[in-house]
Symmetry: C2
Subunit: 376 residues, 2 copies
């Protein structure tokens, strides 16, 4: 698939305008745009602008409620439970993480569990809201069931990512990972390329390992069984029960503490997805000298980067380094957007009566996409 | 290897007596014994009585200080930093977890980071101290470097287990897992059996995958490079960076927040190991109705157990179920101890001038162990 490159400014203006036109406030539209474009800056294309079409569908179906306001149901100096009332995930999540940060600044720790939200973009965005303010940040979410527990043949957990961020020099620690071995987006990529899936990714409807992307994907859509393996594969030999356990931890902080919808029932309702999140912030100063802690962590991260490399490997990364490098490059040289997504954005402009050419002058979809216009 | 079975009571009396004879108080000896025998009850033999010989060595070498008392270096209503002064890991850890629990009961959350400790047994023991009191519990530790980061050829992190426990009916949720794909004990088991290691477990001194147990183990002992893969293997295809990331999270809560020794330097000192731990307790009541939360979690766990099984699978487990079943069986029918460990216990009795036959009447080591007596 071919890519076309646009400046971050252009994409920001476009994204914000789209969400304002849907009916969100300027502030909320900027937040949604920032979450999506942070993913694109970091090279996590699956969670960037290409998600706009899904949010559009969610709004049209009535699963995302434009006028919902997050409500605090219960609160202590170190905790809160928020009901998102099926609003936009990014708006609810920024509200909840800000609450966690505020509590961490006042009490040392803040933990916020959220129910009745929607897809919130990359988990790491919210963890990083904390680390940018010198705090440790934690974020997790459940989602439509896609992970098949060890010894099962039906998906019962979502991709359930967990992100943890902490201050360090010269890069913050930024760990953001699904608790499945891969996300559904990776399967879709292999499907588009017509390539067999790597061993250790997916299961068929009987619970047996399967490398046929079309079969696995159609089973997922039809809820016929099968799905994606937990981190660690499908048997205990490589630690399947561990990825499954981490998925449960995401569920615990999101759907369980908030008394919300667990992944096995997410996205089965006509008027909501029910998706739940968990957030936390911790002030390192509650352990003494926050600068000394940051320095100690930075030294260890440097020792990791400086460790002897495997034969043939050029570099050892610490978590978040790739994202920092990608973002620096894309701020300088522009953000690549693939033609498939560009066609979706064109459609979105037609639907919202926005002038596509005022954002993306001169762009013409390749001939292969002629049939798709208006049909996403 | 053959096993001989003893009642839990016998093993408790023996373990406590051994640690009292070393010079620990009755209370501390009972705690150490309880941690070790909980592992044996749960079927986690590698962390049970067979560890006694290693603790003996640690005391003899001067890495475990018999008379050390844990000291609180820094404290807030939600946190503490503890210096273990190289005492026995189980004693320091129970002290630290009790502090976390006390803070969680008063303030909703308690997080305690510990430096200068020693091997603490199974991570889950401490998480469960919290869940037994209706709280959510978290425990992690670093350890001698054994995990090779993605793209490296030298171990830089420990097996770095993380355990999380939470109240539920009829079984609590009890997730206790190393962040490596397996622990060193599993490699030693394959070595003893003369079997090749499964693919996806270990790396040789160049950082390439390796299934030769003797080679990997001698490299680990000689610190020649190589070691065990993170959960997710050695490449990003199966999520190696994710296991590596979870290992970093264990490091963050143990060695980083306490300004302690990171895994890459643990066990390199003559007079201490430097091992660090992290503990936390959270009162679910800070999210509203703790009983409703427990009920909601129990329902979800039941739904997981009731999900359709993979073809050929008999049962889907939730985390902690196997341990509950093993403990019930062993309390009823006795705890199996292998002959190798029995010979070590006999040696220990000779060293401490304890009457082995008063604990284990009639036990004779098999002929194959004749040469080992006195030489462990």
């Amino acid at each position: 698939m071919a890519y076309v490159t646009w400046s971050l400014k252009t994409l920001e203006r476009f994204c914000s305008d789209v969400f304002e036109t849907f009916g969100f406030s300027k502030e909320d539209s900027d937040r949604i745009s920032d979450v999506l474009l942070t993913a694109d800056l970091y090279g996590i294309e699956s969670h960037g602008m290409q998600r706009m079409v899904r949010y559009h569908k969610g709004i049209e179906k009535g699963q995302i409620h434009l006028d919902a306001k997050p409500e605090v149901l219960f609160e202590t100096p170190v905790s809160a439970v928020v009901d998102g009332h099926s609003g936009m995930g990014q708006v609810i999540s920024a509200f909840a993480m800000e609450k966690a940060i505020e509590k961490a600044k006042a009490s040392g720790v803040g933990i916020v569990s959220v129910r009745n939200s929607n897809h919130y973009g990359i988990a790491g965005y919210y963890a990083q809201m904390a680390s940018r303010q010198g705090l440790m940040g934690f974020s997790c979410t459940n989602s439509e069931a896609i992970m098949v527990p060890t010894f099962a043949r039906q998906a019962m957990l979502g991709s359930n990512p967990i992100a943890i961020a902490a201050p360090a020099d010269p890069y913050p620690f930024f760990f953001d990972a699904s608790t499945t071995v891969v996300t559904r987006g990776k399967l879709e990529m292999y499907n588009k390329m017509g390539k067999p899936l790597p061993d250790g990714w997916a299961l068929d409807e009987t619970g047996a390992p399967c490398t046929e992307a079309p079969r696995v994907l159609s089973n997922i859509v039809g809820k016929n069984g099968g799905g994606i393996m937990p981190l660690g594969g499908s048997t205990e030999t490589l630690g399947s029960h561990k990825g499954y356990g981490w998925g449960m931890v995401a569920e615990l902080f999101s759907s369980i503490l908030s008394l919300g919808v667990t992944s096995n029932e997410c996205c089965t309702f006509p008027d909501k997805t029910g998706i739940c999140h968990g957030f936390a912030a911790i002030d390192p100063a509650i352990f003494g000298d926050a600068d000394a802690i940051k320095g100690h962590f930075s030294d260890y991260l440097q020792a990791l980067r400086d460790a002897p490399k495997a034969e043939g490997a050029e570099r050892i990364y610490t978590h978040g380094e790739k994202e920092v490098a990608a973002a620096a490059d894309r701020r300088e040289n522009g953000v690549p957007v693939n033609d498939g997504t560009m066609v979706e954005l064109l459609d979105l402009c037609n639907y919202l009566k926005l002038d596509f050419s005022s954002y993306f002058p001169g762009y013409e979809p390749p001939a292969e996409f002629a049939g798709f216009a208006g049909n996403y």
